[in-house]
Symmetry: C2
Subunit: 227 residues, 2 copies
Amino acid sequence: LLRIEGLTKTYWQGASAVHALDGIDLSVSAASFVAIMGPSGSGKSTLLSMMGLLDLPDQGEVWLSGQAVSHLSDDRRTLLRRERIGFVFQNFELIPTLTAAENILLPAELTKQAGKARTRLEGLAGLLGLSGRLGARPHQLSGGQQQRVAIARALIMNPLLVLADEPTGNLDSKSGQAVLEILREGVDLQGWTVVMVTHDPAAALYADRVVFLRDGRVVGEGDPRHE
Amino acid sequence: LLRIEGLTKTYWQGASAVHALDGIDLSVSAASFVAIMGPSGSGKSTLLSMMGLLDLPDQGEVWLSGQAVSHLSDDRRTLLRRERIGFVFQNFELIPTLTAAENILLPAELTKQAGKARTRLEGLAGLLGLSGRLGARPHQLSGGQQQRVAIARALIMNPLLVLADEPTGNLDSKSGQAVLEILREGVDLQGWTVVMVTHDPAAALYADRVVFLRDGRVVGEGDPRHE
Ligand SMILES: Nc1ncnc2c1ncn2[C@@H]1O[C@H](COP(=O)(O)OP(=O)(O)OP(=O)(O)O)[C@@H](O)[C@H]1O
Ligand SMILES: Nc1ncnc2c1ncn2[C@@H]1O[C@H](COP(=O)(O)OP(=O)(O)OP(=O)(O)O)[C@@H](O)[C@H]1O
Ligand SMILES: [Mg+2]
Ligand SMILES: [Mg+2]
């Protein structure tokens, strides 16, 4: 479903270069669950933003469902992203003036599919332990509640590709497990493709495959259950 | 060093009450390391903000070094906080227009002790793996790098009391261990008092004592190494 070849991204800090991605090749089959692990600063969030068409690489290409996508126009990338990709940001990125429910339904509003999403909202909120907090604004929610709102927003449109950047970092083990089970079930029952960045080896156990990053490169991979 | 009695805090969501803290009693000895754990939404961040004099309880009192502090004037609480407390926020709260170095030195600037802090900056940044990133602004840093900048800012003035809200949530195990070792050494060698909220049982192992919260109350406590 998702293929990446020769992906390179360099940021400039004054005169010095930060090689955030240094030639990444990666293939992700449809309906699979991949975990990405690696040290802080190794390029995980940058890689995920390339997969999510949020940012353009300096070199290399991203294919989504066989279509080369990383050099499409802004508008076309935005359209693709809204229709097919659910993105959970490392810093949640919730809109402070909207309630939890409005934040979650935002992708649906933007793609004119609000009706379908509203029917799913209650069930999804229930699974994530957010019932009763849907009317609150982000600053009125705990860190873990905000993280779960960000997760619900990524999942509300039953996306083809779910990209989750450390989705359980602020969650206790019980809420974290609930999230990982939702992702696993989405893959097994709904055919989602999930790519999850995580620092937690226990979270990686829910994936079919783990890819290890270091200094902007893939340095290894394996099956989390047969190491 | 720190004592809390009968602490209560209720937030209002329209007509319904959220009992964030529901009568908390807690004592923390000087030069000790306490971990606070509990489900998402159980009141950990709210409790920490009371301890840090960032917020006022509805009922109850907080004593710092024997002085009742929670009902002092805003100015007096701000002064105490700046002189004696280092606070690591769950969402980092870095100032986007300042560099990492400027963010870290901010407490020192505010208390006119910039000289002392500058001599400590390099060593602390080195321990936290931030050397070379000190000139970057927050949006140019990875999630874990931002978290480490927030930690450095809390520690730069060698504070009496360190309050850390999930300080390793965005860190890989190696960076996380470095942070926990810095906190442990601060307690053992510099006499810091550290209260750390965490979801990670491995992080709690560095503490002398774990306090468990649920629905705004203390429901248990223990020695993390002799459970
Ligand atoms: N300003 C506010 N207005 C309304 N409710 C609030 C406000 N701040 C916190 N709450 C609620 O108080 C409860 C406790 O919040 P708190 O942030 O202390 O939880 P927490 O234990 O830190 O959770 P987490 O592990 O998710 O960070 C939550 O239900 C939260 O939604
Ligand atoms: N806009 C930017 N300008 C300059 N450098 C950047 C920018 N964005 C990211 N970087 C740098 O690129 C490197 C990779 O960042 P990235 O956010 O992908 O790391 P990460 O693996 O997600 O780390 P973490 O586990 O801490 O979240 C880091 O060294 C970071 O400082
Ligand atoms: Mg990241
Ligand atoms: Mg919290």
